[in-house]
């Protein structure tokens, strides 16, 4: 395509990496955050593993931080919609990897994928009561 923006184009035949796949959804559907309260079966087990993933800087689960916007389990595939507290988060790759690994620890889940979403925006209001309690114990000042 001829245009004013002639940066080198990506190879159209290149194999897409999972990194690219993270970005194919920008907007979460449904109420956020999702916490898996009414999940059953395999999904419930995935939620249990997600709860074990903590923020790298604070002893609080990423689920209680309100970062998980959705979980979809289809067959042996899990898709997690998730946001981050901060757009410049330096632990981005680390957290995304940990979430995928957590979901894949469940017997019956072969492949897990995280889709990073930025809307609706995250704020401290999305932290669950349990999460707020953990943060207070850690020494953070919260209402």
């Amino acid at each position: 395509m001829s245009s004013d923006y002639d940066r080198p184009r990506a190879d159209p035949d290149a194999t897409a990496c999972s990194y690219t796949d993270y970005e194919t959804t920008d907007h979460a559907t449904g109420d956020v955050p999702a916490t898996g309260d009414d999940a059953e079966g395999l999904a419930r087990e995935v939620w249990a593993e997600l709860y074990t993933v903590e923020d790298p800087e604070m002893p609080v689960s990423i689920v209680d931080l309100g970062l998980i916007y959705g979980l979809d389990v289809a067959g042996n595939e899990a898709t997690v919609d998730m946001t981050l507290t901060y757009s410049g988060c330096p632990a981005r790759e680390l957290i995304l990897d940990e979430v995928e690994e957590a979901a894949e620890r469940v017997d019956g889940i072969k492949n897990a994928e995280v889709r990073l979403v930025w809307s609706p925006d995250w704020s401290v209001d999305l932290v669950t009561e349990q999460g707020k309690e953990a943060l207070r114990e850690f020494g953070m000042s919260l209402e």
């Binding site: 990506a10 159209p12 970005e23 907007h27 330096p90 790759e93």
Partner: protein, 277 residues
């Protein structure tokens, strides 16, 4: 201005003209934020106090995060991170020349004035993108606005304090006279694609409308602090948006990409590869 434009749909659904206009908007967002961040990092151990070191480092990290959000959106259109950053020619970049100028050690007023002029423009641009007809732009705005609020507050509070000191005011005034013409390049067009950006509802305000609002806000605040705003200035040249840059950019680009080239890289390294344990 309200827009009645239809949603442009998924990245893969864009027509050639739509994609060209979306890219034109995304590239300036990404490049401005990226280079502004890169220059801020100069101050992270040189600002007047430890608190200001931390504040400016944090602002740099925010801008890098925002640049990443915009480059991610560009990647959905078929570009790779390597091609966008490390393998791009310096003249492919379209940031305003305001953000590429180097800082002189000790000239903190210059950093504060630059941040202020840039952040007001950024604030106006983000508002004009809130209802964008392109969802990947629309969906990123809220997060970025929340973080940008602090940048504006930081710049304004420094200007208010510096206005109270004779020596500091003089340096602010000097920086303002120097940087204002460069800040005007933020509102310069990249080419005839500009009309499509507003006609397609990608952005709700024209460059000239954004310029007018910016000039009013900047003049009103700075005049109140006792500064003289050079409102009759013309945009500095080169203007950046047309891919023409100052020599400072070429040396900065050389520096930014030197490790990638020296190590013979052909892919960008992430903090942690996905296959790592």
């Amino acid at each position: 201005m309200s827009t009645t434009n239809a949603d442009l749909g998924e990245p893969t659904e864009l027509s050639e003209d739509e994609q060209r206009a979306v890219e034109a908007q995304l590239f300036r967002l990404a490049d401005d934020e990226f280079i502004q961040a890169e220059r801020y990092t100069f101050w992270q151990v040189r600002a007047p106090t430890l608190e200001s070191d931390l504040a400016v480092s944090n602002n740099a990290q925010d801008e890098l995060g925002h640049a990443r959000l915009w480059y991610d959106a560009i990647q959905q259109l078929g570009y790779s991170e390597e091609s966008l950053i490390y393998e791009s020619d310096p003249s492919d970049f379209q940031h305003s020349t305001l953000v590429e100028l180097p800082f002189e050690e000790g000239d903190w007023a210059n950093a504060v004035v630059r941040a202020y002029l840039y952040d007001v423009a950024e604030d106006i641009r983000l508002s004009a993108l809130e209802e964008s007809s392109y969802e990947p732009i629309r969906d990123r705005i809220g997060r970025i606005q929340g973080e940008e609020e602090y940048h504006l507050e930081h710049a304004r509070s420094w200007l208010e304090r510096m206005a109270l000191d004779d020596d500091a005011s003089e340096r602010v005034q000097h920086a303002l006279d120097e940087l204002y013409p460069y800040a005007l390049t933020l509102f310069e067009p990249v080419g005839d694609v500009e009309d499509d950006i507003t006609n397609l509802g990608i952005r709700s305000m024209s460059l000239s409308e954004m310029h007018t609002e910016w000039a009013d806000r900047v003049e009103s605040f700075l005049t109140e602090q006792g500064f003289e705003v050079p409102t009759d200035a013309e945009p500095a040249t080169p203007i950046g948006r047309d891919n023409q840059h100052t020599d400072h950019w070429h040396s900065l680009h050389e520096e930014m990409t030197s490790t990638y080239r020296n190590l013979g890289r052909n892919e960008a390294t992430l903090l942690m590869d996905e296959d790592d344990e």
